[in-house]
Amino acid sequence: MFGSRGVFAMKTMELHLTVNGQSLNWSIAPGELLLDVLRRQGYFGVKRGCEKGECGACAVLVDGKPINSCLMFAAQAEGRHVLTIEGVAIDGKLDPVQEAFLDHGAVQCGFCTPGMVISAKALLDRRPDPTEDEVREALAGHLCRCTGYLKPVEAVLAAASKRKNRARRVKPLTEVSR
């Protein structure tokens, strides 16, 4: 028996994969989804929002690419490198994307934040100096009901310029005058 899905699937199988740099060996049911297995294993930062691949709250990187873990069978992660939000900060040091999310007020309830951070990190790994449109496109798979997306977009652009460690004018997305 295991967890929420294994009871009818009497068969089990072994899954070897790397999560956040750690090589792991799990016993799973053949029909289990990666989202369910990750949460069962305690990766609570991988969120369950819709289970249809529409909200992006469950996004993780598989071999560096963002995917919705609710759409991938766990067995398909065999031999692959999975990065969850828990693996983004290294030794307690936040990634520039995470820092920027905090500094720019891009976090409200925080439920969609792990997915957004993961996709933003993948974008910046691929394109260190993205345009605003590219950021919006990279975040388009992540529904957020709190922020209206402006501050997350602003945060990703700020993180990009911080990561590049050079002064780069970030076009203000929100003209705030007080």
Partner: protein, 289 residues
Amino acid sequence: MFDKVEAFYRPANVREALRLLQSGKGQARVVAGGTDVVVDGDDSVRFLIDITHAGLSYIRRRGTASVIGATTTMAELEASPQIQSLAGGLLCKAAHSCGSMPIRNLATLGGNMANGSPAADMATPLLVLDAAVVMADAKGRRRLPLAEYLGNARSNRYARSLVVEIVIPDPPRGKGCRWSFQKLGRTAVDISLVNVSAGLHLDSRGRVKWVRIALGSVAPAPMRAPGAEQRMTGRILDQALLAEIGAEVAREVSPISDARASAEYRREICSVLTRRALEECSAPAGCSL
């Protein structure tokens, strides 16, 4: 969901995949990106056959054709220089519209065809490009015109076969050849309310030498508009003809009403998008518009 699955297979080639599909006796389901299979959530599935290791992820040239392996993802299509240079990047544009980034990293071209959705965004550009589907089953491989395949994708006809690759013969090339993909959704990431692809070859006098128009989400399967194509051939493309063609495609389609849009609206949009597609195709050629 998928609680009855007893085994998950990762065949290393097509032959092994077909063998597993045969022995699954209708209770096996082929999976690649999972974006449709998982969402469908078919509770009766007992065996899953993951074909992403079966050597079907490729984009190649073969003779005078481009060949795309079934498990090639939308993201891979978008990023491929070969696909970018094919028909003015028509397929890239369509692939880019297939959902958000985390979806396009999973979703495959073969899956988009095999799912048989009338709204499949890759179908109309492939119809315009006269693409064919290569199927494999126990008896071997065969090649089907895409339209024929799409018309039956949701039936049981291909239950024991596998979409192996999509073959795209080289389209007409040259100065007068232009392509367009038009899609109307409610938001940026959306299933098509209507999508239209067009390919147009104008001769030096602005006469239509060759034309293809395909429409999605307006019939039980993505469809060509043969009536409109025939009307255009050999004629000068001007505003009057565009209006005539807009009206003709609206007659040819058979949309339904659903939560996304009404049939009447879809029909009207068919005319608008077809006209826009043809305008995009003709504008750079310096014709009379």
